[in-house]
Amino acid sequence: MTTLIIIIGAVVYAALYMIYGRKMESEVVKADNAIQTPAHRLYDGVDYVPTRTSVLFGHHFASVAGAAPIVGPVVAMAWGWVPALAWVWFGNIFIGAVHDYLAVMASVRYDGKSIQFVASDLINKRTGYLFYILVFFLLVLVVAAFAAVLGGMFMSNPGIPAAAAYLLIAAVIQGFLMYKTKLPFAVSTAIGIAMLVLVIYLAGVFPLEASRNFWFLAMFFYIIIAAALPVQVLLQPRDYLNAWLLYVGLILGGLGAIFAFQGFTAPAFTSFSPIISAGQPTPFWPVIPLIIACGSLSGFHALVASGTTSKQISSEKAGLAIGYGVMLVEGFLSTIVVIAVAGWGVQVMTGAGQTITTAGWSTQYTPAMSGSFPNAAMFSETWAAMIGDTWLNFIPETFLRIVAGMWVSSFALTTLDSTNRLARYTLAEIFLPLKSKSESLYRFFSNRWVASVIPAAIGVYLGWSGSFGLLWPSFGAANQLIAAIALLTGTAWVSKRLKTKATYAFIPAMALWVTVTAAMVWYLAVVIPVTWAANPATGGTVGFITVAMLIMNIIFIIDFFKTKNQPLADTEIGAE
C-alpha cells in the first residue's frame, strides 16, 4: 500500500504539473520567454541576478520547506489517511501551487516587487498595511506553535534537545571554518557533514534531560540571542547543514515508502469530526486548512516567492517549475509523512505504551499524542520504523529517530530566530503611523531589543501555557489568511492586468477565503471558550488575535470587491 500510494502520488503530481500547471502557464499567465525578467532587465549583480532554474528550484525549496509540512499532516491523520492525503493533494495542486505560481509571476511582472506592493497597487493601500499586522500575528503564533512542538519533542526524547544543542555548536564551528579560516567550501562542507554525523552519534550517546520549564526558558533566551547574532555566526551555517538534513530525510523517507511494502494500519476514514483541537470534535470542513497548512498551501510562500526568488528567475517559463513545481515537491514531503503515520502509526504508538486501535482511532489518536508522545515524535518514530522495515535496516533505529527529530527540531529552531528577525521589522512598520504623533513611543517600540522581546515573550508564553491543539490551528489560520489575500491579489492581477482567465485564481481564492473564515468562526465559537474557561490569559490572547484577524479578513474581502471593477492607473511597473 505504501509503495502504491507513493507511486500514485508521483504520477498524479507529474500529470497535473504537465496538464494543469502548463494550462496556467499558457492560458492564464501567458508566460513568454521573449519578455525579459527583472533578473536580466535590472541586473545589478547583487539583488537582481539570473540564476539557473534547477539551482533556484533547490534554493526556493530549501526556503519554503520546514517543520510545518511535517507536523500538519501528522495531526490531520486523526481524520484518517484518505482525508489527510486528499487535502494535501487537492489543496496542493489546485490552490497552493496556483497561489505560489501567481505570487512569483505577479512579482516578476512587477520588477520583483513584493506581494504587498502588488496588493497595494491592485486592491488598496490599506491592504498593504494590514499585511504587516497579519504577518506580525502570524509570527507570534509561529513562535507559540513551534515552541509547543519543540517543548513536546524535547520532553519526549532527550536525544533530540541534545542533537539540537550539539548542532548549534557544530554550526558555529562550521561558520568559523567558512569565514575565519577561509577553507575551501567543499572542504568545510565535508567537515560540516562529518560533524552532522558526529552530532547524531553524540546525541544518541549523551542525551540531555531537563524540565519543561527549563526548555521554554531556554527557547525564550535562544530566540533573542540568536536573532541578534550576525547571520554567518549561527543561522547561515546551520541553515546550510539543515538543507543537507532535509535532502537526506526526503531521500531516505522516499526509499522507505517505496521499499517497505507495508499495508496501512491507520483507518482510511475515521469520522467527520474526530477529537483534534483542544479536545473538541473538529469538523473536517472547514478546519482542515488550519491543520495542514504548509504541506498543502501556505501564505508565507507568497512572501518568499515575491521577495528574493522573483529577482533571480532567469526566464518567464522557469516560473512554473519554481512557483508551481516547488509547492508540489513540498506536498510530496507531506505525502511521505501521511504514509509513514498510516503505515506504522499503530505499531509505534502501541510500542510507546499508548492505547490505540484502528477502530478507536478517531477518539484515541489525538489524545495519545498529548503528554509524553507529541505529534513531532509521532513523525520521527514512524519515519524511523518505515526505513527500518526496508533494506536500509542496517542503520540503527535510535539514530534514525534522532535524524528525524533533529530534522524537525532544527527547522523549528531556525523558524524561531528567523521569526524574531522579521518581527522586529514588522513592528517598526506597524508603529510607523505613531512616529508623527509620538517619536519617543515609536523609538521605544522599534528598538531592536524591545521589538525582539515582544513577539518572543508573547509567543513563548503562549507555547508554554497553551496546548498544541489550541495553538496549531490559530497559526494555520494566520497562514491561510495570508494565502487567501495573496490569492485574491493574484486574481486581481490576472483579471485587471493580464485580462485572462481569472477563474483559475478566483475560484480557489474564494473557496479558501470562505473556508478559512468559517474555520475561524468555528474556532472562536468552540475552541476559545473552552480555553478561556481553563486559562483566561492564554484564551484571551489567542481569542483577541483571532478576532482581529477575522476583522481584517472581512476588510480584505470588502476592499477586493469594492475595487474589483475599478480601472487601473497605467503605472509603469506592472504595465504589460
Binding site: 526556503s63 547561515q236 546550510y240 504548509c294
Partner: protein, 98 residues
Amino acid sequence: MNPLDPLKRTFQFLKSFSSTMDTAHRNRAVGLTECEVRELENMFVLLLMGSFTGVPAPPSFISAELLPYLEHEIKVVNRRSESASDALSELSGCFDIT
C-alpha cells in the same frame, strides 16, 4: 546498446542531481550572507554620505577619495531607496519561517 548504458545514465543523473543540489545549498548559504552584507553596506554608505540624511559625515576629503569606489553601491542604494518601505518579502526570502 551496451547493457551498462542505463546504469551509466542513472549514475550520470544522480551525479548531476547531487551537484545541482549542492550548488543550490551553496547558493542559498551565500544568499543569506549577502543579506547581512547588504545591511552592512547600507551602513557603510550611510557613514560615508550620511550628511545627506543628517548623520555626521567623515571629513569630506575622505568621502571624496572613496567616492569612485562606491559607484556601484550608489546605484544599488538608489534602487533600494525606492523599495525601502517594502522589505518584508525580501526579508522573508532570506529567513525562512515555516
